[in-house]
Assembly symmetry: D2
Homo-oligomer: 147 residues x 4
Amino acid sequence: MAVQVSVIGSGAAWGGAAEEIGRLLAERGCTVVTGGLGEVMSAAHRGAKSGGGTTIAILPGERRDDANRWADHVVVTGIGHARNLAVAASGDAVIAVGGSYGTLAEIAFALRLGRRVVALEGAPTTEGVELATSPAQAVELALRDLA
Amino acid sequence: MAVQVSVIGSGAAWGGAAEEIGRLLAERGCTVVTGGLGEVMSAAHRGAKSGGGTTIAILPGERRDDANRWADHVVVTGIGHARNLAVAASGDAVIAVGGSYGTLAEIAFALRLGRRVVALEGAPTTEGVELATSPAQAVELALRDLA
Amino acid sequence: MAVQVSVIGSGAAWGGAAEEIGRLLAERGCTVVTGGLGEVMSAAHRGAKSGGGTTIAILPGERRDDANRWADHVVVTGIGHARNLAVAASGDAVIAVGGSYGTLAEIAFALRLGRRVVALEGAPTTEGVELATSPAQAVELALRDLA
Amino acid sequence: MAVQVSVIGSGAAWGGAAEEIGRLLAERGCTVVTGGLGEVMSAAHRGAKSGGGTTIAILPGERRDDANRWADHVVVTGIGHARNLAVAASGDAVIAVGGSYGTLAEIAFALRLGRRVVALEGAPTTEGVELATSPAQAVELALRDLA
C-alpha cells in the first residue's frame, strides 16, 4: 500500500503552498488524503493530480457531490466535524497548511493517535508538532523514513 | 470519478459470493468499498483486485494495519460501529452479502440516505431492498443506469 | 443510577403511544432517552415529564436549541445520523414506536450491542426484537428484571 | 433547562481543581458534563455531586459501566475519540483543567462551534481561550451572563 499523507488546513491564501505540497507528495509516491472540500483541501488534491498521484476525500456531509473535482476516491462520512478524526487518523503523517480551529482539532487528534504532524509556518501548532518553513521542507519532514 | 459500490456483510460462508461480486464490480470499472476487515469484506476486496479493480477500506478502529491486505486505500475512522454510516454513504449503490445486525444497520442507513441497496438472498433485508439470487444479478441490479 | 430506556421511532401517528410509554417508564423510575427532536421523540419526553421523570436528548446537530422542550438534559453530538448509535447504546433497553429506516438502524445497533429491543406493533422489526401489542406491554417487556 | 458546562481535561494532579470547579458549578445551578471517565472527569463529577448538582457522562466506549460512579446520566456513544466533539458541543461553556491532546481537540471543537472556552492555567490553550488562575475565576468567566 502507498504511504498516505493527510493535508489539512484552510484559507484561500494557502492554496499555492498546499498545491505544491500535494504535487511533491505525489511525486514521492504518496496518496494525498484531505477533508475533500475547498481551499487547502482542493489545492492539495489538484497538486497531487498534477504530480500524477492519487487523492482521497473524507467528507463531513452525506453527499458524494460535495467533493472537490480532484478527488479520485470519496468517503462520505455523514458525521460533520467528527470526520476530522478520520482525516487525521488516515494519514501515516499529517501536514498542516494554514487553518484554524478545525485544523487544530485534526492536529490534536493526529498527535493523540501517534501520527507525525508537520506544520507549515502559519498553521496552528502545539507541542509535538514539527515546523517547516517551506512546502519542500514540510514534505521532507513528513516523509523521512516513510517514503 | 469511478462509480463506487459498497459491499457489506459478514460470515465465512459468504466468501465465495463476495469474491465474485468484487470481481464483477471491478470488471465493470467500479471501485469496491468495504468496512475493511475480514470475511465478506476481504473477499470482496480480493475479488476486486483479481478483476483489476481498486479497493477502499473504511475501518472502525484507529490503526491502518487492521485493514485486509487487498485494501488499496485505507480510511481509519476511529468511530467504531458508527463507521457503518460511512460505508453505506460512500457507495453509489450498496450490495449486502450475508451479514447480521451490523449489516442491517448499514442497509438502513443506505436506504435512509437514498442509496440503492441490493441484497443477495440470505442477507438481512427490509422494505426497499432489491433481492438478487446470484452474484451476477446482484451486480446487474446495483449497476443498472450507474455503470 | 436510574435505569435508562431509549424510546426510538418517528411518525406523527405514534405520538399517543410514545407519550404513554414515556409516562409509564417515568412512573417506573426510568430515565427516558431519545434522539431529542419531534414526533415520537418529543412525545416520549412529554410523557416522561408528565409522569415525573427525567429526559435526555441526544441530538444529531450542533445546536442545543434543536432539542424539544421536554428535554431535561441535552447531548449535542454533531455527528448526524451516527448519533443513532449513541441513542441505541445509551439505553439499558430500547423501545421502538413507529419509525422507518433511521429507527431500523437504531434497532440493529442496539441488538449488535446486546441491548434488549422491544417494538410496539407497527415499528420496523427484525430477528431478536420482542413484539408488544400495547404501550403497557412494551414497557413491561423492556423492564422485566431491570426496574 | 439548566445551563450545562463541560469540564474537560486529564491528569491526576488536577483532581483537586476539577473537583472544586464541579462543586462551584453545581452551586450555581449548572449541570456538569464530562467525558465520563477518570481523573479530571470523575473529580468534576464528584465535586458537582458534593454541591448538590447533576452530572452527565459522555462515554467513548460501548458500555455504560465505564462511567465513573458520580455520573447521574450516561450517554454511551461508541465513537471513541470522536465523542470529544459531543463533549465540547454539549456545554454552553467549556472549562479545561489540565489535559493534553484530547483536551486540545475538545477546545478546538468548542471554539469552532462558538462555545465559550475557559482554561485553568496549565491546560492546553490557543487563541480565543480565556485564561483563569483559579477554579473560582474559571467558573466566574465561564458563567458570566449564562447563570
